[in-house]
Symmetry: C2
Subunit: 99 residues, 2 copies
DNA sequence: CTACATTTGACAATTATTGTCAAATGACAT
DNA sequence: ATGTCATTTGACAATAATTGTCAAATGTAG
């Protein structure tokens, strides 16, 4: 479940239109449409507003959203997975034996 | 050991000046200086050239470089570590039970 | 067909990244 | 101390990426 899918699901569950939500968020329906379909990334502020409006757990959607940004960063990178591990180790132990 | 530190170490080991390297890379010494001290991020192309010039393992420096970009992305984020884990799981299993 | 919701794409506005330059600082020999 | 060269700093310009607007196209249901 991507961030966009999550948003769309919640919105439809509430029977709301793109227009209803996009107005509250302060953007054009076009952008929200694109966000829901993953054609564009939302900003952090937009995610925060959407979470509130659609009653989605902040923790959950923000984590999902950030992880997508990370995956985006390493996609098409030869050493993406290695880098991910190094990053994690760096956080865990401050600095790590990357060899 | 950050990417910048690695570059500086290798450069000094070879007894080369900022000017020597920056010319080969095609940038100003100011930028290289900043890159080495972590004040600026290098581009992927610059890293590739530096690896060749300074004889640093591509795999190693690119992994280090990318992991720093990831860490940069999640720094100051409340759910950075969680996101990192979700990202890793997503890669491992395609899509994951993030709950 | 009509009415309305959504999607699409061209483009503008804004923001972030990357680069240049010159002056300031540091290191060190004379 | 002065001179010389390497490095650093900061203001600014150029470029690239992101975010937004708008109107027309497409989809959907009555």
């Amino acid at each position: 479940m991507t961030t966009g899918e999550l948003i769309r699901e919640k919105r439809e569950l509430k029977g709301l239109l793109l227009r209803d939500i996009s107005t509250q968020v302060g953007i054009d329906t076009a952008i929200l449409s694109k966000i829901e379909r993953g054609e564009r990334k939302a900003t952090k502020e937009q995610i925060a507003k959407l979470a509130e409006i659609l009653e989605i757990e902040r923790c959950f959607i923000l984590t999902q959203y950030l992880s997508e940004k990370i995956l985006d960063e390493i996609q098409n990178e030869d050493f993406g997975i290695e880098a991910l591990k190094v990053a994690e180790q760096t956080i865990k132990y401050g600095r790590v034996n990357n060899k």
